[in-house]
Amino acid sequence: MEKLSAQESTHQKFIEAANRKKILAHKCTNCGHLMLETVLFCEKCSGSKFEHAELEGTGTVVTYTIQAVAPEGFEDAGSYAWVVFKIDNSHLRASGFLPGIKTPAELPIGTRVRVAGFDPKHGLMLQK
């Protein structure tokens, strides 16, 4: 299979950073706006030149669900939450898979979470 370009894919770079427990972002060199790595043009100024900004993979829960009925590929995941969290020291939010959550009492909004890695089967892994 051919690669689209000599550069590593944006998704692959995001995944590699997640495996270092980081969130990879793009910082626009023109206006300084910060976006997740997978966005190719600046949302503010449409600039296309960026520098990498590796954010600490920690944050607070904004919202979540506990998937009582798991989609295909997650049947073996046990009880888990799909979580949207605000990344520390940025306006950005990301979402991921937090295993072992059974009840809302275990995950009040505002709970601290951190990136634990990227699982090929379950995506961006989080832990409390």
Binding site: H11, T38, V62, T63, Y64, T65, I66, Q67, A68, V69, A70, P71, E72, G73, F74, A77, Y80, W82, V84, H91, R93, A94, S95, G96, F97, P104, I109, H122, G123, L124
Partner: protein, 389 residues
């Protein structure tokens, strides 16, 4: 030459539910009803606009030429449009725009879906492909899960309760009982909703619309064409489109859907009306929380107040703004490629005296609202009943 006014001259739907026929047979059934309702022959149709998402699941893509061929008008150009659960309204908008631009004076705008034969588990997977999959479906979120996350954010921000969500389901099931073509004919109580199995907390089974098969079709035409027909028709007086970040995580406020707000603003401005002028609305209630958010974003209620309004009966058939008289996606059903067109069919039936017991008395202006995925794309249309002299 452009057409300054675009009208709906005919409309028809199949029953929504688990249907035995294949996807083309389902589509043709609705097309035939719409053509007969308009009092035209297929030869008068100059183009076919088709909305569909998962035709591949019933072994048929490139659907428009197949439908045109089976209507005996294989020379008529067709186009198939996909925009997830919003496909129907987004396609309707493109069909509208092409009549308005003067490319056509009469066309078929038809939505169709068939998924129930794939089973609930696989249908759930198919639907998850409508999310921003790298961030959402790929991390374990199903569509009920995505809307559940919106529900939790809303409930946390506005102190709404699971009972508030359940009230939406109860109201729409009551309306659906009056709609012979609805998928789910079942009276339910708040207690039934609260005791139904959790799908993705805080949403339970009865907070969720069903997977449905079905088709809906309309005949769109110029005002001149409609007047010549001598038949009842309605005018499209407002049309708006909007967009939101594809992923829920990209939205600063998870308790509103930006695409709805933008589409509604455009449609109201174009129609020269305000939310207070709308006599009833068909809105996108794929989950109970969606209807709560919709009716705030459409301007019917202030932010954070919709749950109270639903509880007080304001959105019931005899309320100040009846919402989803058809039963909505929740009860009428949600064949996703057809849903947006089905909403227009409901308005047409209401305006032409075919809505039976669910008729909103005296209605002259109505709104339809339909979005794709968690609201990444949306369209709003406003219609005016034309009283023939």
């Amino acid at each position: 030459m452009t057409n300054s006014k675009v009208c709906v001259l005919g409309a028809g739907s199949t029953k929504y539910g688990k249907l035995n026929e294949n996807i083309i047979e389902i589509a043709l059934s609705a097309a035939k009803d719409a053509i007969e309702s308009a009092g035209i022959t297929p030869k008068e149709i100059q183009a076919g606009y088709i909305s569909n998402v998962f035709g591949v699941a019933d072994k048929q893509v490139h659907m428009a030429p197949v439908i045109m061929s089976n209507l005996g008008i294989s020379h008529v150009p067709g186009l198939t449009i996909e925009s997830a659960c919003g496909s129907g309204s987004v396609m309707f908008r493109e069909a509208y725009a092409n009549v308005a631009a003067g490319f056509y004076d009469c066309l078929l705008a038809l939505g169709v879906e068939k998924v129930t034969h794939t089973g609930t588990v696989h249908s759930t997977t198919l639907f998850s492909y409508c999310s921003d999959f790298f961030y959402e479906g790929g991390n374990g979120a199903s569509f009920p899960g995505l809307f559940a996350s919106m529900a939790r954010a809303y409930m946390n921000t506005h102190k709404a309760t699971e009972e508030d969500l359940a009230n939406v389901a109860v109201k729409n099931h009551d309306n659906g009982l009056l709609n012979p073509k609805a998928h789910v004919h079942k009276k339910i109580t708040v207690d039934d909703v609260l005791k139904s199995p959790v799908v993705a907390s805080p949403l339970k089974l009865l907070d969720c619309c069903p997977f449905s098969d079905g088709a809906s079709a309309t005949i769109l035409c110029s005002e001149e064409f409609a007047k010549k027909s001598g038949r009842p028709y309605m005018e499209v007086i407002g049309s708006g489109r909007g967009a939101s970040p594809a992923a829920v995580q990209g939205r600063e406020d998870i308790t509103t859907i930006p695409s709805t707000v933008a589409a509604a603003r455009q449609a109201y401005k174009m129609a020269g009306v305000t939310p207070k002028d709308i006599n009833f609305a068909e809105v996108h209630d794929c989950f109970t929380i969606a209807e709560i958010i919709d009716i705030e974003d459409l301007g019917f209620f202030p932010k954070g107040k919709a749950a109270h309004a639903v509880r007080d009966g304001a959105t019931r058939l005899k309320g100040e703004i009846p919402v989803n008289p058809s039963g909505g996606l929740k009860s009428k059903g949600h064949p996703i490629g057809a849903t947006g067109v089905g909403q227009v069919v409901e308005v047409f039936e209401q305006f032409t005296g075919k809505a039976g017991e669910r008729t909103v008395p005296g209605a002259k202006i109505a709104l339809t609202h339909n979005f794709g995925a968690t609201g990444a794309s949306a369209a709003v249309h406003i219609f005016r009943k034309v009283d023939r002299k």
